[in-house]
């Protein structure tokens, strides 16, 4: 191979092998991807890969720190090859010629379990930054997944541009099945979907096929604000309906950076004036409420929930709550426009004893819950329950 000594294979992709190699002149270690040239059949992986790299170089003005750098493209008898950044060692530290060296990909790291929340946040930012650079340049990756995320000098970089293409709606449905959106449209939103699943795997350690289950980490998610924010990001990115997802990685990255709280940079003097203005405003509102609207009864929205049985009807002060069409409200439900005062609340259910919740003041409580402890009695036919 011109300029490089191939040492040993370190990875395998869909269309080629990745080798550990040294530059004969400088001794520098690199990763070299070999793709067989001129394979028979309708798919020419070498040709496709070259086209993708040409697009990448043409559309990206500068190298991006979160995209694997391709140093050199060349050919040797029977193959084309790409010289790339060498991934860090999975055990830690830089890549080396050590016989125990294993390239650190996100996939190989996730075999040990999910990443810690702070690291998930950081790696999410890195992944989306790299992907956003591609989207900004009018390209779509089409194969975002943990095995195509490498760690180089401690930073996550998106790799494998073999399926890279210009963003348009006529793109072929190519990529990895488990990371493809159900709508089948392979545009920037498809990359967003795949990135969302990759982030899901980072936070849960579960494969993409388990999405959106949180498995045994549910309690951990409920206690950790970082995991909660990442989860909400993922839920939107991986929505089954395309138009609900982020349009591209730049929008998703914007949502991520908006989500993490930052301290506003205000001077003490500014804070003082703003505080005074807010106090005046509050006073004005209170005065209006107390003095200007003495005869207007306040109305509020209240949610009613019953466990473990649903579809209970609701009696307020011995009167069943009815909708405008005359049918009763049934739990779980939010009822608008209720008087903001104390009410006597009773839930009623087929073949269950009435559940008397007692007096509830709707000025203070907007969520009323009732819980039946007893089993149903008699044969009531179909009982909407769980």
């Amino acid at each position: 191979m011109p300029g490089f000594n191939l040492l040993r294979p370190i990875g395998k992709g869909g269309f080629g092998e990745v080798w550990l190699a040294t530059n004969r002149t400088t001794g520098q270690l690199r990763a070299v991807k070999l793709i067989a040239a001129g394979r028979a059949g309708s798919v020419d992986p070498a040709g496709r890969e070259i086209t993708s790299i040409v697009r990448l170089e043409a559309n990206l003005r500068h190298q991006h720190p979160n995209l694997v750098h391709i140093h050199h493209v060349d050919q040797c008898p029977g193959y084309i090859f790409f010289v790339m950044d060498l991934a860090d060692d999975l055990r830690g530290g830089a890549g080396s010629a050590d016989p125990d060296y294993r390239p650190a990909t996100l996939e190989s790291r996730l075999r040990a379990g999910p990443l810690e929340p702070e690291e998930c946040w950081r790696r999410t930012g890195e992944l989306l930054a790299g992907l956003a650079a591609l989207h900004d340049a009018g390209m779509v990756h089409r194969d975002v997944k943990p095995s195509n995320c490498l760690f180089v000098e401690g930073e996550l970089k998106l790799a494998d541009f073999g399926l890279l293409t210009e963003a348009n709606r006529q793109m072929s449905r190519l990529g990895t099945v488990n990371y493809m959106p159900p709508d089948g449209c392979m545009d920037t939103r498809a990359d967003v979907y795949a990135a969302g699943l990759t982030i899901y795997e980072m936070t849960t350690g579960l494969p993409a096929t388990c999405f959106p289950s949180l498995g045994e980490l549910a309690e951990k998610f409920s206690d950790d604000p970082i995991l909660q924010r990442l989860n909400r990001l993922v839920l939107r990115a991986c929505h089954s309906t395309a138009h609900v997802r982020f349009e591209n990685a730049r929008e998703m990255l914007g949502e991520l950076t908006r989500a993490k709280p930052t301290k506003p940079v205000w001077s003490f003097r500014h804070r003082g004036w703003i505080g005074i203005c807010l106090a005046c405003l509050l006073l004005a509102v209170v005065l209006m409420v107390v003095h200007q609207w003495p005869n207007r009864g306040e109305r509020v929205r209240v949610s009613f929930v019953t466990e473990p049985f649903f579809e209970a009807t609701i009696r307020l002060d011995d009167v069943q709550l009815l909708k405008s069409d005359g049918t009763p409200y049934t739990t779980p439900v939010t009822v608008p426009d209720l008087p903001a005062r104390s009410h006597h609340v009773v839930f009623q259910h087929l073949s269950l004893p009435d559940l008397d919740v007692g007096w509830v003041d709707f000025r203070e409580t907007r969520n009323v819950e009732g819980h039946w402890n007893s089993e149903p009695v008699g044969d009531a036919g179909e009982l909407p329950s769980h």
């Binding site: 949180l214 549910a218 998610f221 929505h239 089954s240 473990p308 439900v333 149903p376 769980h386």
Partner: protein, 231 residues
């Protein structure tokens, strides 16, 4: 809850090149086989091996198996294959405990059976039922919005409060309860039992608890993909 293997799927499996059919088959059954092997005393690694060996066996026998009501269902046949492979594995020299001189082959097989809760056939049926319930849940998981399914799982199976689920998913508390009801209704439409006595939650929890953990999910997903590519 039926859970019969469709004749169409069996016919598609006979075509060894129908990747989607084999994907569907392995998705449907690998956890059942894995859990059964674990209940019979196998380690995670051994149970994974047994899953792969069963898949190879089914692939090998795909042309000879014929759905015959008189002989019993496909799941009974599969159960027999799995039980034989587990028993065969216990008879292999590598599984025998070291330093226990004098164990006969029969004794070792018996010691494996001591991990059972009962007869193997009954254990198979019990695990089958739980796996099928989990499979119904998988169907609904793919149908509904991700936040809806997640809200259901966190509240109904993991028993988190409405407030906590709202915090994780970004839904309102009311939407959490609506999501829970929607998924339960859908499960019942698909045939999930235990509705009237309010035991569906409990049954789902048992079914989910039986599922392999995250590491095994990841490992088996990769192994099954690899073996399908190599066919």
């Amino acid at each position: 809850m039926g859970g019969k293997t469709s004749t169409t799927l069996l016919e598609r499996l006979r075509d060894g090149t129908d990747q989607l059919a084999w994907q569907e088959f392995s998705d449907r059954y690998w956890r059942l086989i894995f859990v059964f092997a674990k209940k019979r005393g196998c380690s995670d690694h051994t149970a994974e091996d047994i899953v792969q060996n069963v898949m190879v066996e089914v692939f090998r026998e795909r042309s000879t198996f014929r759905y015959d009501r008189a002989r019993g269902s496909f799941r009974n046949w599969l159960g027999a294959v799995v039980r034989n492979l587990v028993a065969r594995h216990y008879r292999a020299p590598s599984e025998r405990p070291r330093g226990q001189g004098g164990d006969s082959e029969g004794d070792f097989v018996l010691s494996g059976l001591q991990h059972d809760d009962g007869r193997p056939e009954e254990l198979w049926e019990h695990i089958y039922e739980q796996t099928m319930l989990a499979a119904l849940l998988d169907i609904v998981r793919r149908e509904v919005a991700p936040a809806t399914y997640q809200a259901f799982e966190l509240s109904a199976i993991r028993d988190l409060s409405g407030d906590k689920v709202a915090g994780i998913t970004g839904l309102s508390r009311n939407a959490v309860y609506q999501a829970k009801k929607h998924v339960f209704d859908r499960l019942c439409e698909l045939g999930a039992l235990y509705r009237r006595t309010g035991q569906l939650s409990q049954r789902l929890r048992e079914a989910m608890a039986m599922r392999p953990n995250g590491k095994v999910e990841r490992s088996m997903t990769a192994r099954l993909e690899q073996s399908m590519r190599s066919r």
